[in-house]
């Protein structure tokens, strides 16, 4: 009681049951009773759902009726609801920073199994919060203006949709794409499931809209090299690779391609998964955006090992004529862009089927990946839609193997979500194109989507054979005459209960989705996190699925996890909306956890200055003291911990607050 008077604070404490999430493992009333007796506490309650409206109103009412000047809520993680309760405290008429939150759900009730121990832990944590909150100070939220421009990284369907949404809302968008054209994986697909509308028909109009939209600056064949700054004010360095063609001067007439010294295309065509050939000067695919050619210095005769030799007669330049679009002297350039928000839509990589050697990809020419089949059935693909195998034959029997590089602890343990559906789509298309007998080998058929199960029904009716069993191996040796010269799949038909050997002309591997090879670099660059499988981590799996832990940076599409086109587009729209919400507010509210220097105590030793990664600390020569630029400080507190004279203070995390918290967690036995 004495302490109450001395500290002169009036703390209200609330412990949340969270239904049974907390109450099942923590004796909430007991904690409330324990806290009630602590110095400074004038009121201590337990309540079923603190985050609900009545819960928040309870706090507001108590602040007024009991003249509370400090509030502590013990409930879930502050990363989830700190904001909610600060707002409630503010609505109750207090400074929102006279509040502290205790995490007794994620850090207590959910991770422990002994109710007595969990309750004791909750008491200790609550005790610490009570001691800490008494030391809290009134703080002002810092408002900084937000730059209205947006950067979208990755020009697949997610990036295209996000960029279009933002641009249509009147924002200036930079869309950066690594390849010479936007379109991503979707541009390679033939049809889309379950509606079977053609991918190009729905994608290419969007692509050309992006290309001509006045609010979109399209930077293809470019990569983000660096990001600096903070939410609202990012500076991004974009590296523009030389395509040896001046974009503004190329009209896409493709005369250069026709007149290349190579009369026949003979180089690996990335867009067609190597099934077709292209020339050193090429346009990736007919509807590429921008309609600008690129020159591949690795194979162009005018280069040797990528170095310009000028040895070719350059018939392409002649063909280009007056347009003068070809420039062999082009160098890599860098460009700085200022934006307020960033949407990362870098997509996925398909699993390398060679990592599952027992299926013979790369060894048997007639084993294909699903993406190769997409090109093979595509009317604008390398065979103009005729399904012929690498040996020139048309397949009479085709086996499709699901889950290649998915649900397998030796490669990728996750389900790639799209393979069941696209395998069925390919089964349908292959049957349509070839009339072949088609077998689909699956572990579990996953069709959770609108119209997906109906699509499965349709395939069953079409007479595609579905066999439940993960294929053991694909081999080329025969046990019987009908297997001669065929690829043989050995599998247990788990539903019929027999091990079977089935001969096929063609085998298709439904490869799964993986994070991009450079996902870790991208993650570091944008200050994001990755989940254990390597996809970018969302801020909250349910409530903040397109946000990241870095304010102002959003993610959408398959860079966050395997997903299909409808989900990707929905997510891209969501990310755009989140970014818009931030921009249209006009300013960012920053957590006032910055540090400042106590002038009287600073001895001018300068030890803090090199520690700051944001160069927020400078030395004031006239005063012989360090000063911190509040606008640059991000509130890590590294300088605070290092100051030998203890003259730096971090708001919200000052020494006094933390020491009292330490004292508090140990005060209770």
């Amino acid at each position: 009681m004495d302490a109450t008077k001395k500290q002169d604070v009036r703390i209200g404490f609330y412990i949340c049951h969270c239904g049974s999430n907390i109450a099942a493992m923590v004796d909430c009333p007991a904690v409330a009773r324990y806290v009630e007796k602590l110095p400074g506490v004038v009121l201590s309650r337990d309540y079923k759902y603190m985050c609900s409206d009545p819960g928040q109103e309870l706090i507001q009412k108590d602040i007024k009726e009991h003249q509370l000047d400090r509030v502590v809520v013990a409930s879930c993680s502050p990363l989830l609801h700190e904001h909610t309760f600060r707002a409630a405290v503010e609505a109750g008429g207090l400074n929102p920073f006279f509040f502290h939150m205790v995490n007794i759900r994620e850090h207590d009730s959910w991770v422990h199994t002994n109710k007595v121990e969990a309750t004791e832990k909750a008491k200790a944590l609550a005790h610490a919060a009570i001691q800490r909150v008494a030391k809290h100070k009134s703080l002002e939220v810092k408002k900084v203006p937000i730059h209205p421009d947006v950067l979208v990284v990755g020009g697949g369907i997610a990036g295209i949709h996000a960029a279009m949404t933002m641009a249509n809302a009147g924002k200036k968008v930079y869309l950066v794409e690594r390849e010479p054209s936007i379109g991503g994986h979707m541009a390679k697909f033939d049809k889309t499931f379950p509606t079977l509308d053609c991918a190009a028909c729905i994608l290419t109009p969007k692509m050309s809209e992006v290309g001509s939209h006045p609010n979109i600056t399209l930077l293809t064949y470019s990569e983000v090299a660096k990001m600096d700054g903070y939410v609202g004010n990012y500076t991004v360095t974009v590296k523009r690779k030389p395509r040896y063609v001046i974009e503004d001067q190329c009209t896409g007439c493709q005369e250069c391609i026709a007149n290349c010294v190579y009369k026949e295309p003979k180089f690996h065509d990335e867009f067609n998964e190597g099934l077709g050939k292209r020339k050193p000067v090429y346009i990736p695919f007919p509807q590429a955006t921008p309609q600008v050619v690129a020159i591949d210095p690795k194979v162009c005769l005018n280069f040797r090992n990528g170095v310009l030799t000028d040895k070719c007669k350059k018939s392409c330049v002649t063909a280009c004529g007056e347009k003068k679009a070809i420039d062999f002297t082009q160098q890599e350039t860098v460009q700085d862009i200022k934006v307020g928000t960033i949407i990362v839509t870098t997509g996925f990589k398909t699993f390398d089927a060679k990592r599952v050697p027992q299926y013979g990809y790369g060894k048997f020419p007639n084993v294909y990946t699903a993406l190769e089949i997409e090109r093979l059935v595509n009317a604008s693909g390398p065979t103009a839609g005729h399904v012929v195998m690498r040996d020139g034959r048309e397949p009479k029997s085709i086996g499709i193997i699901h889950c290649v590089g998915s649900r397998d602890k030796k490669t990728n343990r996750w389900c790639s979500r799209v393979c069941c559906m696209y395998s069925m789509k390919l089964a349908h298309l292959l049957k349509e194109h070839t009339g072949a007998e088609i077998y689909s080998f699956y572990i579990d058929m996953r069709t959770p989507g609108k119209g997906y199960e109906e699509f499965y029904d349709k395939l069953l009716e079409e007479g595609v054979h579905f066999i439940r069993g993960r294929v053991g191996e694909v081999t080329d040796w025969a046990m019987s005459p009908e297997e001669e010269g065929k690829l043989v799949i050995r599998v247990e038909d788990t539903l019929a209960g027999y091990v079977r050997r089935i001969p096929f002309d063609m085998v298709v591997l439904a490869t799964g989705m993986e994070p991009q090879a450079d996902a870790q670099d991208v993650r570091r660059m944008f200050n994001m996190s990755c989940g254990s499988e390597g996809f970018f981590l969302e801020r909250h799996p349910k409530l903040a699925p397109v946000s990241t832990f870095t304010e102002g940076i959003f993610i959408a599409g398959a860079c966050q996890g395997p997903r299909d086109i409808p989900d990707t587009v929905a997510q891209a729209g969501a990310a755009a909306a989140e970014a818009l919400a931030l921009i249209d507010k006009g300013h960012i509210e920053q957590e006032p956890n910055t540090a400042f220097i106590l002038d009287d105590e600073c001895c001018g030793c300068k030890s803090c200055i090199p520690l700051c990664p944001y160069t927020a600390i400078t030395f004031d020569e006239s005063k012989k003291k360090a000063t911190i630029n509040e606008a640059l400080c991000k509130g890590c507190g590294t300088c605070v911990a290092a100051c030998p004279s203890g003259s730096i203070v971090q708001n919200l995390f000052d020494d006094e607050e933390i020491f009292s918290e330490i004292d508090g967690v140990l005060a209770h036995d």
Binding site: G469, R470, G472, V499
Partner: protein, 211 residues
């Protein structure tokens, strides 16, 4: 044709059997089986099995002890380890098969006159006794114990081996048999499986009760 009832009742299960197998080091992963059939798909002997390896996993997990220990499958496993390396859940199926073989021999409920368990036991005895194994003597013992008629069919092979000097007529043995003997007795004394054996006894009673 004889029609038999194939339904299984709760009484057909030996509850706890699955858990018991899973508690053996190396068999823990059993629980994560997704019944994909990869093991059967790669097993070179699955074509002769009464239950496929996948089914064995399911049966063990569901406590169908009698069915599993009586099955031919566990004895057809030639330990080629294909299933173990291919299993997408990294279940050490070969080791589980060994565990099941041990249990079957221990409880004596393997198919009688079935050569494989006999070979395993004779091998064990011979190695235990002499420290080494002389294959042809072992084979002869095995055939005499299971199917002496089959032994007659083997005379040609034996003769061939004899002619080629690959048929040692004396039983190989190590010099310090006593050493091995002492070590084995220590193991028996320590009997780390004491508890295990207790369990096995209890469950075997249950098997008897169930049969």
């Amino acid at each position: 044709m004889e029609i038999t009832r194939t339904i299984k009742y709760e009484a057909d299960r030996v509850k706890g059997f699955g858990d018991e197998v899973r508690s053996v080091p190396g068999c823990e992963q059993l629980q994560s089986c997704i019944q994909c059939g990869t093991c059967s798909g790669v097993c070179p002997l699955s074509i002769y099995m009464d239950y496929s390896p996948r089914q064995v996993m399911a049966l063990v997990r569901s406590d169908f002890k009698n069915e599993v220990l009586r099955s031919h499958t566990i004895w057809l496993c030639a330990s080629c380890y294909s299933c173990t390396v291919e299993c997408p859940r990294q279940i050490r199926i070969t080791d589980i098969m060994y565990e099941l073989k041990q249990r079957a021999i221990h409880e004596g409920i393997y198919p009688k006159k079935f050569a494989i368990p006999v070979l395993a036991k004779e091998f064990y005895k011979m190695a235990y006794k002499y420290g080494r194994v002389t294959e042809n003597v072992l084979a002869a013992t095995m055939f005499l114990k299971t199917n002496w008629l089959a032994a007659l069919g083997m005379w040609r092979l034996g003769l061939g081996l004899l002619k080629r000097g690959r048929f040692p007529l004396k039983v190989e043995s190590i010099k310090r048999r006593d050493e091995l003997d002492r070590m084995m007795r220590t193991v028996d004394r320590l009997n780390i499986d004491a508890l295990h054996d207790e369990k096995k006894k209890i469950t075997s009673h249950r098997v008897e009760a169930a049969t």
